[in-house]
Every structure is written in C-alpha cells, then in structure tokens.
C-alpha cells in the first residue's frame, strides 16, 4: 500500500512529505537543514543529544526532529533565538561534561561536536568545567575507546546492534555517571561478542572511538559508509 502523502510547513514553506517520516527526514528530503549530532542516517533515532529540537506551532514544547513523526498540517520552525539558545546550552554541556582537549585529539578538525560548536560560533562556555577522571580502554588490538571524548550519543550501541548484530555496546549507570561499556562491563579486548568490524569506530562522531596508530588530526571517519551499507542491505529500521 502506498504511503499517505502529507503536507507540512517548514519555516513557512509548504512541503510534501510522506506519512511515517520524522520531521528530520522530511526536512532533509526537502533540503532543509536541522543540526544533529546523535542521529546517523540508517540507525534507529533515539533523541539523545537534543541538537535537532524544533518549534511546532500550537504548542510551547520543543520537539526533537529526529524522533518526532510528522502530522498532516504540522508547521515547524527550525531556527529561532530560543532554539539557538537551547542548542548552544546542549553543546556547552557536552564540552564541560568530559575532557575535550581538541588540540591533542585524533579527531581534531574532523569531529562533529567540534564543527557544530564552530558553526554556532561558540567561543567559550558559560559553565564550569567538570574535568572528570576518566579511563581510556586500549585493550582491543585495533581500536581505542577514550571516555574523555564520549558524548553518549549511542551511535556505537546502535550500529553494533542494528547493523552488525553483535550487541557489544551498552550504556551503564545514570546521569553524569553514564558510560559506554562493552559486553558486561569488560575490557573491550576481552569481549567475545565483538567481531572487530570497526563499524562503531566509523559511526562515532567524536574522537571517543578511534583506530590505533593514528596521531592528532589523523582519524578520518566514514559515516557515509555506514549509511550506504544500511541502504544496500535494506535494513531500514
């Protein structure tokens, strides 16, 4: 059965969309930009980072574009002072929560967190830095997990479960204590379910997951490979 056509407005412009699409999908299909961080095309959206928030007429609540399905007649605003203010705060909190020393990071210059901050003109944060003591897991023969740079977007969790089917990664604890863990909180190198495919590394938007042997600025991620792999396998979830 063909999907029902819906019409919505994005920033005032009338757009034809298809039932079942999220606001983000409808926006992308029509060339409208909404900033995202935890979203990766092909993976189940979870709404972890709150960067993609939009205004919807008729309500004061903000909605995450990546997880909110469109409705007929919906009118969406993607840019406003309020949205910029809130998105900025979300980004600033990510910076103060862990230790992002971009100058010595493998992903410097190619990091999605860093480039969003630049795009939003963030020259400083308003909160006190947390400077937590966090570990680096070097036990895997090919890859590194550096918690100092993890933004808990769960792309690694999702790509490993949705695409590789290995379910190595999970989130543990809550709030500020949340961490990414492999298997039942074992060292990555001791994981028996990890297939060494490296999809999590490619999907990670920051320098938290990287290949060994790369120095500052050298780690190039291929998130496009993840998305095209999903497309080819038709595992659209």
């Amino acid at each position: 059965m063909p999907k029902k056509k819906l019409s919505i407005r994005i920033d005032g412009e009338l757009i034809n969309a298809v039932e079942g699409q999220t606001i983000l999908q409808a926006a992308k299909a029509n060339g409208k930009y909404i900033p995202t961080l935890c979203d990766l095309e092909g993976l189940t959206p979870v709404g972890a980072c709150r960067l993609c928030i939009v205004e919807v007429s008729g309500t004061d609540r903000l909605f995450q574009a990546c997880t909110t399905p469109i409705q007929d007649g919906m009118s969406v605003i993607t840019t406003s002072a309020r949205l910029t203010h809130d998105r900025r705060i979300s980004l600033e909190l990510l910076f103060v929560e862990r230790n992002h020393v971009c100058a010595v990071c493998v992903s410097n210059g190619r990091c999605e967190l860093q480039s969003l901050a630049s795009a939003m003109g963030i020259s400083t944060v308003r909160f006190a830095y947390n400077y937590p003591k966090l570990g680096v897991d070097l036990s895997h023969p090919r890859f590194v997990l550096d918690h100092n740079r993890c933004i808990l977007c769960t792309r690694c969790v999702r790509v490993c479960a949705d695409l590789e089917g290995a379910h190595v990664w999970e989130l543990t604890s809550r709030g500020i204590h949340s961490r990414i863990v492999s298997d039942l909180n074992q060292r990555w190198g001791d994981s028996r379910s990890c297939t060494n495919c490296g999809k999590c590394v490619q999907a990670c938007p920051t320098g938290a997951l990287a290949e060994k042997g790369y120095a500052v600025e050298e780690m190039v991620k291929r998130t496009d490979n993840i998305s095209s792999l999903v497309e080819r396998r038709e595992v659209q979830v």
Partner: protein, 176 residues
C-alpha cells in the same frame, strides 16, 4: 592619532599563542604603527602598566602567582581577551586536573627524575589544585579559542579593536 596600548600576558601555556601573534606576516607592520606594545614576553617592561587598552592573555590559571597576575591585569586593563584554548577551556594544562598536586609533583620530580630527585619549592609559585580558564577568576571580555588561534584571526581582532570596532561575534572560531 593616539596609539592603542596593548599588552600580552603568558600564564600556563606553551607560548604557541604568542608565536601565532607574531605569525601575522606583513599585517604586523601596519598594526605596529597603530599600537604600543606596553607589556609582555615580547617587550622589556618589568611592571604591568596602568591604563592598558587591550590585554591578550595566553594560558590557563595554574598557580597562585597566575591568580595574582591576572587580577592585577584585570584591574589595569580596559578590555581583556582570553587568547587560545588554555585560557578559554584549560586545555592541555588542565589534563592534570584529576591528579592531586602532590602526587603529580612526586611523579615528575622524584619518580620520573634521573637525578636531583626533589620537588622544587624555592622560587617557584605553588600550584593550584587545578588549572582552570581565566573566566572562572576574572571578567573576560572576549574569547579567541584555538590551539593556537590562527594569526589571521588575532590580527583581525586587534585591528578591529584599534579601529574602534568591537565585533562581539563574527570571527571564525574553533577549539583545538
């Protein structure tokens, strides 16, 4: 035209920001005609002068000495700029922040030393528990992140200020 009084200060940083400042090629010549560099590692002055128009501070605040210097600089400066990631975020100097100071000094000067295994105390300022950004100690008027900030950006900021244009935003910014 009265020259604009500019100072630079070097706290806990690697001097890379100062190198970047010098790296602005020919722009430095026209700038030099409009500014008086009144204090900093690049000039001789011993005491931080009164009534400075613009001060660029490189480095994180890491010691009691840094705090005192910074407070004096703030009192005597009209416009204070955090220059570079160390001044803005703590950056590399702040990587020690989760290690207790005595353990850190012990590790470096005793366990890690080949000879003269003793933690220096004479003539060196006592470290703060953590290295932290300037704005956690004093009011900062503008931040220029980067490790180091590009020479072009520094040049643009200074010449805009000299020409009386204080642009709050609009400069390209990037951490790292």
């Amino acid at each position: 035209m009265k020259k604009v009084k500019v100072a630079t200060v070097w706290l806990d940083g690697c001097s890379g920001c100062h190198m970047s400042l010098l790296d602005m090629d020919a722009a430095i010549i026209s700038l030099a005609q409009k500014i008086d560099l009144v204090y900093g590692p690049l000039v001789d002055a011993q005491e931080f002068p009164e009534d400075v128009d613009v001060t660029l501070v490189e480095g994180a605040v890491s010691s009691h000495d840094d705090v005192n210097k910074l407070q004096k600089v703030r009192q005597r400066t009209h416009l204070l700029i955090s220059l570079g990631d160390c001044a803005v975020t703590g950056n590399v100097p702040a990587m020690r922040n989760s290690i207790p100071v005595n353990k850190l000094l012990q590790r470096i000067y005793v366990e890690g030393a080949q000879e003269g295994k003793v933690v220096p105390t004479d003539g060196v300022p006592a470290l703060l528990k953590q290295a932290r950004p300037l704005r956690e100690f004093v009011k900062v008027d503008m931040c220029l992140p980067g490790c180091p900030p590009p020479a072009k950006t520094i040049a643009a900021v200074i010449s805009d200020l000299v020409d009386g244009k204080k642009r709050e935003a609009g400069y390209a910014v990037k951490f790292g």
